[in-house]
């Protein structure tokens, strides 16, 4: 293996092992920032040695052993320092003798719990959402600061600073490295799910011309979600989120035309949908429902996505069921946007007049005032009702509100030639 090849191999090993490494170390040293530094030190050692010695047979164990030695050194230094300060003397020495062998046992524990602890810590609500996303990708996704910066379209120093500050905040607040229990678990879990979905959506929002690292965020989020589903298999919303992401990702090939233009859901070539991801998504949704989580916000959104995924053609779409699911979603997670989507589904299921009634009720909603999809949806319903002049005016209004040139073209076309 040549040196560049070895570097690529090390990169791959890092991708696979870094989260486990950091998680295991964080439990020992009690601080994710210190744990990451120790893991990085081990990586540097690998980069120095492996090009000459070759990649060891069990690279994960090698990295762990190297980092463990450094962790033990660090703990010993700390203990010595404490002893100097506090003059604890003999008693502590005995404790230390006892403590060090236990480290080995602690490090050989199953890693699952540690990873889960790491995920909860990186997504702690004390941190801003951006900080949580950056820290999660860094500690659990194995991404570098530069990769995160490119993916989120922000300068690398900004991300670096975000991560440094986040680690300091966690350390200063004395956030314990643990999995929350009881009532706390639900709130903390939703913080984790929010971060994973935010990462997914960042990738989802990327366009064809973007740096490939942006769309790759979808895969990062899916991987995090799949890991989380194995770590917390009893949590229905975890499966709900995984289902939602798998099904949305299944359409990625069909969503863009040859020249990068967006293709609307109903116009997509469904044979290009990834059936494997759909199957995985449907299975995850079933899991969420079996665990009693059918009414969770993610499970409901996944169920809506599943309605589209199950329909072989656009005409086969079960709009009645979609309308019902939106009504349920509006109850657990009410928002004007959910309501607008429900209106469209109702229009598809029960005719444009029923949809229009719901859309009209939203016209006074302040948060939708400059939301171009409100007049777009209204225009479509008016058009179907044969009220062409009103439809034209709504499409023009929608066109004037959208920020996106491709969409503006589409809306203006519709304003010129009502169906």
């Amino acid at each position: 293996m040549t040196a560049p090849d070895t570097h690529l191999a090390i990169d791959a090993v890092w991708r696979i092992e870094s989260a486990k490494l950091i998680a295991g170390l964080a439990r020992i040293v009690g601080d994710v920032g210190v744990a990451e530094d120790l893991a990085q030190d081990a990586l540097v050692a690998a980069l120095e040695r492996w090009p000459e010695s070759g990649v060891p047979d069990n690279p994960g164990a090698w990295l762990m052993a190297t980092a463990k030695h450094r962790a033990i050194d660090l703990l010993r230094r700390r203990t010595r320092l404490e002893r100097k300060h506090e003059q604890l003397g003999y008693e502590l020495e005995v404790q230390q003798e006892l403590a060090v062998p236990n480290l080995d046992a602690a490090l050989d524990d199953p890693v699952g719990d540690d990873l889960l602890r790491l995920m909860f810590t990186a997504c702690h609500p004390i941190l801003s959402t951006e900080a949580r996303a950056a820290l999660t990708l860094r500690l659990l996704g194995g991404l570098t600061t530069e990769e995160i910066a490119r993916a989120f379209l922000v300068p690398a120093p900004t991300v670096a600073q975000r991560i440094v500050r986040a680690k300091r905040t966690l350390s200063e607040a004395g956030i314990p490295f643990e999995v929350p229990r009881g009532d706390d678990l639900t709130a903390r879990l939703s913080s984790v799910l929010e971060v994973v979905y935010l990462i997914f959506n960042e990738g989802y929002a990327a366009t064809a011309g973007d740096d490939w690292l942006r769309p790759a965020l979808c895969e990062d989020a899916l991987r995090l979600g799949r890991i989380l589903a194995e770590l917390a298999p009893e949590e229905p919303e975890v499966h709900g989120l995984v289902a939602l992401m798998e099904i949305q990702a299944s359409r990625s090939r069909a969503r863009v035309g040859p020249s990068g233009e967006p293709i609307l859901l109903l116009d997509q070539n469904r044979s290009r949908w990834d059936q494997l991801l759909i199957r995985r998504g449907l299975a995850a949704l079933e899991r969420a429902e079996q665990l009693g989580g059918a009414n969770g916000p993610y499970a409901l959104q996944a169920a809506i996505a599943a309605c589209h995924a199950r329909a072989r053609t656009g005409e086969e779409t079960d709009w009645e069921r979609i309308a019902t699911l939106y009504a349920a979603l509006a109850e657990v997670s009410p928002s004007p946007v959910v309501e607008l989507n429900r209106a469209v589904a109702v229009g598809m299921a029960f005719g444009p007049a029923a949809g229009l009634e719901l859309v009209d009720a939203l016209r006074t909603e302040p948060s939708l005032k400059s939301y171009h999809l409100l007049p777009a949806a209204r225009g479509d319903l008016l058009d179907k009702l044969g009220r062409f002049d009103e439809a034209r005016a709504e499409f023009e209004r929608a066109a004037s509100l959208t920020q996106n040139a491709r969409e503006r073209t589409l809306l203006l076309e519709r304003s010129m030639q009502p169906r």
Binding site: L8, A9, D11, A12, V13, R15, I16, P59, Y197, N201, G203, Y204, A205, T207, A208, W212, P215, C218, E219, L222, R223, L224, G225, R226, I227, E230, A249, S252, R253, R255, V256, P262, I263, L264, L265, R272, L276, R280, I304, I322, Y326, S335, V337, V338, N341, R342, V344, A345, M348, Y371, H372, L373, A376, A377, D380, Q403, N404, R406, E407, L410
Partner: protein, 138 residues
């Protein structure tokens, strides 16, 4: 990126894996699933249950198994979602340590398109963290 791994063991067909191998394989598959990289994997029945369908010179020929070669026959496949080819290689290495000597052919799966939005309508929805029917019917 996705990689397909086609595993061809050196051992002749019909060499059943020992109990220890089976247990190790179960553990490895669990590890790969937990790492979020394994999308699908299956093992093949002996080639006597299979066939080769050829289309050549405008004619189809079907050859029933067992196939004449006894070694290096496809014994199973795995579909990985990984960050790099090197990561797929690293997983292959771990797989073959358990499965035994042979060859694992890795092929990157063609994935046209990416996660670009279906329409910016849906994108607007995404910012509100809700799905979009509006985008679907715009």
């Amino acid at each position: 990126m996705k990689f397909l791994g086609l595993y061809r063991p050196s051992a002749p067909e019909g060499t059943p894996p020992g109990q220890e191998t089976m247990a190790k394989m179960g553990k490895l598959i669990e590890e790969m699933t937990k790492a979020g990289v394994l999308l699908a994997t299956e093992g093949c029945m002996p080639s006597s249950k299979g066939a080769r369908v050829r289309y050549s010179g405008g004619k189809f020929t079907v050859t029933d198994g067992p196939f004449t070669e006894t070694k290096e026959l496809i014994a199973g496949f795995a579909l990985f979602e990984v960050k790099s080819k090197e990561e797929a290689i690293e997983w292959s290495r771990r797989f073959m340590e358990v499965a035994g000597e042979g060859e694992n052919e890795l092929r990157q799966i063609f994935e046209g398109g990416n996660c670009a939005p279906e329409s910016t309508a849906e994108l607007a929805e995404v910012k509100h963290r809700q799905p979009a029917e509006v985008g679907a019917t715009l």
